[in-house]
């Protein structure tokens, strides 16, 4: 198997495994949370998401 084929196979497997882990995480994590309004602007609620700037 040449390098390109090997990489493309590994690429597909990696993302499929990542997708599987994501599904597993969604299924196993606590999903009890207050869902925020669809749009923050005009919602009347303060922004609360995590951000690299420190919040």
């Amino acid at each position: 198997m040449d390098k390109e084929r090997l990489f493309r196979t590994g690429f597909a497997i990696f993302w499929l495994v990542a997708l599987g882990l994501l599904v597993l995480d969604t299924a196993s994590s606590s999903n009890i949370r207050v869902e925020p309004p669809p749009i923050a602007l005009g919602s009347g609620q303060a922004a609360s998401g995590g951000h690299c700037s420190g919040r």
């Binding site: 994501l22 969604t26 606590s30 999903n31 923050a40 998401g49 995590g50 700037s53």
Partner: protein
């Protein structure tokens, strides 16, 4: 058959957005859609922050930096009035001017040249099928987790409080931001040399030239040839600015990358048995709560996932992307650089997106400090990159 593969890519995007909406709510679904847009634009326009800086350092080509400054100006113009009048519903990326910011930004700038991609660059290139970014991604996530864990200790080293120019009113903040971006773009344009026969100008030469642009002696220098500003750069900046605005309106906060990658790293080590309950960062609110919730509930994570898919789709829109195999040495260097990048991004309150774009577009002074230090680090990084044999 190309139409069929394109149909599958679009179908996959819509199915993904629907799945995220059902699992985590409409806001998260919208953010996934915006993430797909970010990835498609970054990949389609090959809008690389790292490449833009390297083009200037190595070839004196300012097009990438011009596009970044255009993006900053547009993003600031679109969002500063909203930030000022939102009453807390929207917040900007504002951070203090700490010692950790200075050190972290310099390290990040150097490492991103070795990794051949910054925060957004690593994600979209990994999605686009770059072996180098593919290797960088996991180490970046682990570094981001570790850097966040140590962030409180780094901040304790001290520094100055945050300087938010919005305190002077949004018209003043915007005017200052536009003036500063214009100055940087002008300096980059002046630093541009006649590229004929100078394709590999050394970083020292570029540094000297950049310094000379600020002096009267340079005024007398011959004007270089005027290459066109490639469409992909300015169009990419335009589209990214619109997406940046939409992200702020939907999420209530600027576009970010690194926080989400830290969450992935923290989730991974937790699953492997690492107890984070006593951690100075991940063990306290609100971060501890985000480790309990699904990844899809995290703002930056869901945008990142969308971004990766958008890059995958854009890179395969016209068939399979080209493959170039890097050397083992290059891969190893990139993996280490990814670790440094993830760690230093948390020292510096973000990467090129969260700190540089988000900071400057939010009129926070830390964005400019980040830019200056990361660019200096990139000059060093380009030299190291040559030695590694990129």
């Amino acid at each position: 058959m190309r139409w069929f593969s394109r149909f599958l890519l679009v179908f996959g995007a819509l199915a993904g957005v629907l799945a995220v909406t059902l699992a985590a709510g409409l806001r998260q679904g919208l953010l996934a859609l915006l993430g797909i847009g970010f990835g498609a634009v970054l990949q389609g326009a090959r809008f690389g922050f790292t490449t833009g800086w390297r083009d200037l350092i190595e070839r004196r080509d300012p097009q990438g930096l011009w596009a970044q400054m255009l993006l900053m100006v547009l993003a600031a113009a679109l969002t500063l009035p909203l930030l000022a009048g939102s009453g807390g519903e929207l917040v900007g990326a504002v951070a203090p001017l700490t010692i950790s910011l200075v050190l972290g930004a310099f390290l990040f700038g150097a490492a991103m040249q070795l990794a051949d991609g910054c925060g957004s660059g690593t994600l979209y290139k990994a999605g686009g099928g770059s072996p180098l970014s593919f290797v960088v991604l996991p180490t970046f996530a682990f570094g981001s987790f570790l850097g966040a864990s140590h962030q409180p200790a780094w901040i304790e080293l001290g520094g100055l409080p945050a300087v938010d120019l919005l305190a002077f009113g949004w018209p003043t903040a915007l005017a200052l931001t536009v003036a500063a971006c214009g100055l940087v773009a002008w300096l980059a344009g002046r630093a541009r040399g006649n590229t004929e026969g100078q394709a590999q100008a050394s970083p020292q030469a570029v540094t000297q030239q950049l310094v000379r642009t600020g002096t009267a002696s340079f005024v007398a220098a011959a004007r270089p040839a005027q290459p066109r500003w490639a469409t992909r750069w300015w169009l990419g900046a335009l589209l990214l600015a619109v997406l940046y605005l939409a992200h702020l309106v939907v999420a209530g906060q600027p576009w970010g990358i690194v926080y989400g990658m830290g969450v992935w790293g923290a989730k991974a080590v937790s699953a492997l048995g690492w107890d984070l309950s006593g951690d100075a960062f991940w063990g306290v609110a609100p971060h501890a709560q985000r480790l309990v919730e699904p990844i899809l509930a995290d703002v930056t994570s869901v945008t990142n996932i969308g971004l990766i898919y958008g890059a995958i789709a854009a890179s395969r829109w016209n068939g399979a992307p080209k493959f170039t195999a890097p050397s083992g040495r290059r891969l190893a260097a990139a993996a280490v650089a990814g670790l440094v990048m993830g760690y230093s991004a948390r020292m510096a309150f973000g990467c090129n997106v969260g700190a540089y774009l988000g900071g400057i577009a939010s009129a926070s002074l830390h964005g400019w400090v980040w830019f200056a230090l990361a660019f200096a680090g990139s000059i060093v990084g380009v030299r190291i990159r040559r030695r590694v044999g990129a």
